[in-house]
Every structure is written in C-alpha cells, then in structure tokens.
C-alpha cells in the first residue's frame, strides 16, 4: 500500500524534464514535416518510434471498434513503463492530480504490499493482523481480479490504489495460489492502519523474541523501548530473535531508524542509479542506538520480507553480526522519482536500487539466509477443494503459538549454540520437523 511513499525519494526534477521535451518533440516532428534535423535522440530511437507509429496506424484503421488515440498512447506509455521493473508506473492526469492533492495519506487500506512477478500481480506479504491478512491472503498469492476487473497490464502502484479508500469499503479479490487447483474468491474490508508495529515476548531465561509487523513512524521508539528493557536486565542477555517474516511495508527512512537502534551511526544502506544525482549512502543515527554490546541476534526472514525489512536485515547482518535464518527474501527495494509529462500525466520511474553495507543488490535477487529453514513443500501438497472452510478465525499468534513455530525453535536452538557450530543447520533439526508435523494446527499454517 505504501509503495508510493516508500519509493518516492525526491520531488519532480524539472530541469531534466524540460531539456527532454525540447529534444524529443523533434523526433515526432520529423515524421510529419520531413525535416531532417540533428535530433538529440539516437537514430535507433528514431527507427523504433517509427515502429510505434506504424502500430498506431494499424490499430486506428483496422481495430474492430474505434479507439481514442489518447487511450492508445496512454496504453503505450503504460506498457513501456511496465516493461521496466515492478515499481515503475504511469499516472494519468487525474491520477497524478489526486496523488498530489492527497499527498501520501490514504484513509484506509488493505494492509498488504503488492508487486508484479512473472507478469502477475503478486502479494509480497499481507501485514499480520491487517485486513488482507485476516481475509486469508498470503504472501505470493497472485491476484487475478479486483472487484471483478482483470489485473492484466495493471502496475503494482495502480493496483495498490484499488485497495485504498474510506474505512469500511469492501473489496473483492480473486487469486490463484500454489497448491490450489481453482482460483479463490475473497472479500476484504479496508481499515485504518492500527496494527501494532511490533510485539515483544521474553522467551526462556535470557532470550527474547521481537516481531516487527508494521514498520511506521513510531516503530523506532517502540523498538528502542524494547531494547532498553532487554538491556536493563543485567544478569541474562543471551540472545534476540528478530522476526521480519511477512514484513513488507514501511518506508526506507524507518528502516534506517530501526537499524540504528542496534548499530548507531554505521552505514545502513546505499542507493545507486545511473545518474550520479541518484547515488546516496544512508548512515544510521547515533542518537537512536540502544545496544552498546553485540548480543547474538538471529533475524527470521522469508519470501514476504521486502523493502524496509530487507534493508534492516542486510544492515544488521553486515554491521551487527546477525544471522539471517529462514528463506530467501522477496527482493524488492528501489527508489523512484515522479516525472510530470507535459499533458498533465506523470511517470513514476525507478531511478536507483538499494544495496546492503556488503554491497549486495536487493532488487530482483533477495537476500539469501545464512541458515535455511525446514524445507517447504507447498507445491507437493494435496489439492484442497475449499481450503478456507478448514481455517479457524485468524488471530495474531500469542507466545504459546510463537513457541510452536518451527523456525523460532530452530532459531532458539541456534542461539543456545551461538559461536559453537558455524553456518550449518541447527542441531535437533530432525526433532523440529517432527514437532512441526505435530503442531500443524497453528494459526499460520492452516491451509494445506
């Protein structure tokens, strides 16, 4: 939902924009006046524009119904932008105006982050406790229809808008999920985001579990509070589990503050693009640092860990010696700028990608865990005809359920052996798998 906020780093860049208009209009002018001027655009671009004109002409003259040229050109710009990366998008004049007047605030949303994967609109992760999560959406679900409208050729940003509106708005989604033979229809209700940004449980003596669900403005203070509590316990500070699974929301600035609580003014992440103006390093904030010592830290990650959470994971891995445990992360962290076009529409273009302090590119690749979680075999599970009937009402896992979670148990085992075995599977892994089978009724894994 907050892609727009997350990715937009700067305000529109006027000078570039004006220079381009000047040089590019020439190319089009060439086509109708026959003037051969030394246009600033390569001859290759010129030849390619010719192809677009040809296609436009064919549609104009032969398509079964008459189409507005403006719609065709907007379709073309959408298609071009969609071919770039999942975070670039096109805004029609109305959409652009709306985005400016509303700023970054949306009244209510579905509490989930979207991307486009293999040309399909894909849920990166629903926020635990949010409307989408309670309705039964899961990470990696592919959304086929929103309110009975196909999501074909819809960018993630456009789709995100369909999940914003006044609180109480109902939205119907149809999705496909690995392991299901048929598409699934779900209803969800938009809400103001009131999900607690984090949960904190002391586990056994000296071990702590912190779950980050909803990174937002207050999160860093809340995390500082938790870390102070841990720090104030003088006798037993043995290790922390930071759970970033299914955490895809939040802005990069928030990631920076959150990571600062552990590492202070170390490098958190950097952004690189082709234009030098888009290269920037982001260092943590000294004032935010709470932990002065390096406690054993395991960060739980999975396919639903994205953006701000990926930045945190990458930073703490490099600067705090944290181990990442679980599954490869989603791989989505880009910075974009908005470029207005002369007819009032606008482009959102990804101008830079995030890199961890180890200079690892996150976008499109994801971060590999240092320690893998138990093998998931959702693709081999038997087909369930109506999977949702078997599901209990969704509630946020309590301490008891957290303790049943196989990955949390694996992390705890690793913390107890911290420093003894290197990067291999934690001992007692076989036992864990048995436990996992026995506890298949936990809230998270109901559908199978």
């Amino acid at each position: 939902m907050e892609k727009n906020k997350l990715n937009r780093m700067n305000t529109p860049t006027k000078p570039t924009f004006r220079r381009l208009v000047g040089s590019l209009v020439l190319v089009v002018a060439l086509c109708w006046t026959g003037a051969h001027s030394a246009a600033a655009v390569s001859s290759q671009a010129y030849a390619q524009l010719r192809l677009l004109v040809e296609a436009l002409y064919e549609i104009d003259s032969k398509y079964v119904t008459e189409k507005k040229e403006r719609d065709l050109i907007y379709g073309a710009i959408r298609g071009m932008v969609a071919s770039l990366d999942p975070n670039s998008s096109f805004l029609s004049p109305a959409e652009y105006q709306e985005s400016q007047s509303k700023g970054n605030q949306s009244e209510a949303d579905a509490g989930m982050e979207l991307s486009v994967k293999d040309n399909l609109l894909t849920v990166i992760a629903p926020m635990e406790g949010g409307p989408a999560w309670r309705a039964g959406l899961k990470a990696d679900d592919h959304i086929l229809k929103i309110n009975n409208q196909s999501t074909r050729n819809v960018t993630a940003l456009e789709a995100a808008k369909k999940f914003q509106g006044p609180p109480g708005t109902k939205v119907k989604v149809q999705l496909i999920r690995a392991g299901l033979a048929k598409p699934l229809d779900l209803d969800l209700t938009l809400e103001k985001n009131t999900v607690d940004s984090l949960a904190y449980y002391p586990l056994e003596d000296g071990y702590y579990y912190i779950r980050l669900r909803n990174p937002r403005e207050r999160s860093a203070q809340e995390l500082q509070q938790v870390l102070r509590t841990i720090q104030s316990n003088p006798s037993a500070r043995k290790g922390i589990i930071l759970d970033l699974r299914n955490t895809a929301g939040g802005q990069l600035e928030e990631a920076r503050r959150l990571a600062s609580a552990f590492v202070g003014n170390e490098l958190i992440y950097s952004v690189k693009g082709r234009q030098t103006e888009n290269k920037q390093s982001f260092v943590g904030l000294k004032d935010y640092q709470v932990l002065k010592e390096k406690l054993p830290l395991i960060i739980l990650v999975d396919q639903g860990t994205a953006r701000a959470a990926e930045v945190i994971a990458g930073a703490l891995q490099a600067q705090y010696g944290a181990l990442l445990m679980g599954y490869k992360t989603f791989g989505d962290c880009a910075v974009s700028k908005v470029f207005p076009l002369k007819d009032g529409s606008a482009l959102v273009v990804s101008v830079g990608y995030c890199y961890t302090p180890r200079d690892t590119l996150i976008q499109g690749k994801g971060l590999e865990p240092d320690i893998s979680g138990p093998k998931k075999d959702s693709d081999d599970q038997p087909v369930a005809e109506s999977p949702l009937k078997m599901e209990k009402p969704k509630k946020i896992p309590d301490l008891n359920e957290v303790m049943q979670d196989p990955l949390v148990r694996q992390a705890l085992a690793k913390l107890k052996n911290w420093g003894r075995s290197s990067v291999t599977q934690a001992p007692g892994n076989r036992l864990l798998k048995k436990k996992q089978a026995a506890s298949s009724h936990s809230a998270e894994d109901e559908i199978s």
């Binding site: 032969k62 298609g79 050729n153 693709d379």
Partner: protein, 446 residues
Amino acid sequence: MNHSHHLSSNFRSLPALSAVRNIFCFSLMLAVLLCAWGHPAFSLSEETRDQLSVFAEALGIVEDNHVDSKDTKKLIYGAIKGMVGSLDSHSSFMAPEEFKELQIETKGSFSGIGIEITLKDNLLIVVSPIEGTPAYRAGLQAGDRIIKIDGQNTKNMNLLDAVRKIRGSKGSTVTLTIMRENLDKLKTFSLVREIIPIRSVRVRYFEDGIGYIRITNFQDKTDQDLKQAFKDLQAKCKPLRGLILDLRNDPGGLLDQAVKVSDEFIASGLIVYTEGRNKAQTMRFYANENSTSLEKTIPLVVLINEGSASASEIVAGAVQDRKRGILIGTKSFGKGSVQTIIPLEDGSALRLTTAHYYTPSGRSINEKGIQPDLVVEAPAIPEGKSVKDLRQEALDRRMKGEGITDKAWTVPISSDELERDPQLARALQALRQSPPKKFSEAATKP
C-alpha cells in the same frame, strides 16, 4: 514483406478477399514507410502528433533516468504491447521470434527431427519420436533423456530454448547426447533435419463402426487431414455408422479452416458470418451444396469443453444451429472475435481483433460460449493428487495431442479408455441408441 503476407490474416477468409486485404495492407505499409522517411505526402493529424510527443517525452525520461540502461527497441516493444493489450484480451503484439513460431504453427509443418519433448524434474525428456521422421528412424525412444544438444548441456535450458536449438534449417545436422535407462554410457545421435508435418487431426474407431476424429487445432492442412482421416475410417469400418468429432481443448486457429471443416459436415446454407468496423472484415460463409459425401449426413456428435475456443466454436455453433448433430460436454470458452495478423516492418507483428463472428442464427459467442445440448462433466480432479501432478499430466496430454489418440489409429478404442472419459462414453451411447432423426429428443432427456 510479400513472403509474410500469405499469413497476413490468421483467420483467413476466402482467397479472393484475402488477396484484396493483402493489397490493402501493403498500401498501408507504404504510407507508414513514407511517413517514416519524412515524406510530407503522409501527415499525422495534429492530435496524433500531440499524443506522440507525450510518448516521446516519456521515452526520453525513461532512457535518461531509469536505474537500468534499457534497449530502446525493448522499450518500444513494451509500448506496443501495452497499446495493443489495452484493446482486448485477444489482441497482442508478437516480437519477431514469436511471430516466426506462430507461422510454423499455422503452416502445419516445421523443419526439425520429429521428436516431442517435455521437461520433467528439470530434465529434458523425449515424449515420443514421430513415426517416419529422422528421430524415429535413428532409434530415439520415449523416455530418453537429452543431456546435450550440439554439445551444449541442457541443464537450466527451458523447453522453448531446447525446441529452438533442435529445430533448424532443412538439411542441417543436429547432435543429441542421450542417456537411456539400460545404457551404461551416453549415446550420441547425429540427425539431419527434415520438414516434419504437424498433425492436427487424429483418428481412432470403435469396433461397432463408430469413428472418432480429434482436431487439435485449425491450421493450413487441417481440412486435407480431415478428408484423409475420413477416408481411412470408411476403409476400416464397413459401414461407418456414426462419428464423434472431438473439439475439446482445441484452442482454434484459422478462420478459413473452421469454415472448411464445417463445410465437411454441413450440407447447405450459412456456416458463419463476421462483422467489423472495416467493410473488408464483413463476410458471410456458406456450405458447398454440390457435395454429397457421407460426412454431410452421417450421425454426428461433437465434444466440446471450456477449452474449445474460436474456430472450434464456429464448427460447434454451425452444427448446433443447423441441427446437424448434437453437442456433448461442457460450455465452450466463448471467444467470438476474429484476429488478423499484421506484420510490422521489423519482423514483429500485431494480432489485432478486426471482427466479431456470429453463428448462422446470429448468436455471438463472445464471453457466453456455446452451451452443449447435453451437459456431461469431465471427471473431477482425483483426490490426493497434487497440482504439480495435474500440471504434468496436462502437459503430457498436450505433448501427445490430447484425448485418447496417443495410440496408433488402427487400434480400436478400448472399454478401459472409455471408462476414463465419461464425455466420450456418453457420445458413444447417444450414437448407439438413437437413429439420427431422434438426436434432438435424446438431447432433452439426459
């Protein structure tokens, strides 16, 4: 350009009309080329110019600022895709490679060695060598694992890449390195490529003289293959008492082939008509009334399902509207539009919806589909089977051309095969118990 114009229309119409269209198309190309060379004779409207300048502006911004350096050609391809994609779900853009692939599919033959391959657990496997082809003669077998193609390891190769590497120009050689179950070392085959026909018609029969013909798609040679299949059936079954035409999971193909196949069965009158914005796209197609062949009168059942689309629906619609036979199965896909293939100057092409078609009674199939006279559902998904298994099975069926036709046509359809296919069983029952005149009654009493 001229070479590709024989394909300028995927759903081709009557030859004369198609020639007219080709000329039309050519003159348009010329107009565009003139424009492209900066000739003032062709001018874009002011509105178009304004719109294009917005696009050019967007292109420039992307080229200058996007985090990855992108090839302009790819950007323009993306743009054309987006423009065509905004029209309807059947209009699309084909890059040159995709266009070539389509031409091969519709031509009904390709140059290769004659194996059907699939990807199983990331291994490239021979599904079956096609009889009479270089692969068959050299002794390639079903189940052979292809380890290398021309010395290149097939690990991480996707199916389409592998197919492309195995295909090549006629007379050239391809080397396959094969691993086989009871061989203790790799075996290498050098094969000279030939023109391999793609069969779109498969035929089987039942021992009591009822024929079964399956059409997998409608391509250039489908009508000829159908005629041959019918001849074969008449030679085998004396007398031939009835026919099951299986159009399940047949996604369609060429319009003129849909008309020709319908014409095999319909004795007289309208088969289908099309209407478009462009006058050249408004056409009516009638059956040839001079033929008195057995196909025009033999008791007929047509099998359809949600995978029967476009050309299949034209045939099914004509049979239903003209009360030529009964339709059994489930509701068809519902694609009532005609696409024309328009080649662009760089070897890419547009597949553009240019007309809608209507059955003889004036029904549009679009989104509604054709309701069978007798609804018989396919067996439900067996319990305990994973989606992966189902996908694999579907793929296997596809590689074999589907249905019950993976055995030689001279082998009659067994009761075992029938048991697995309740739609086919119901079709057989209808043909066995009813004289042709009573078909419509049979249809009302399930």
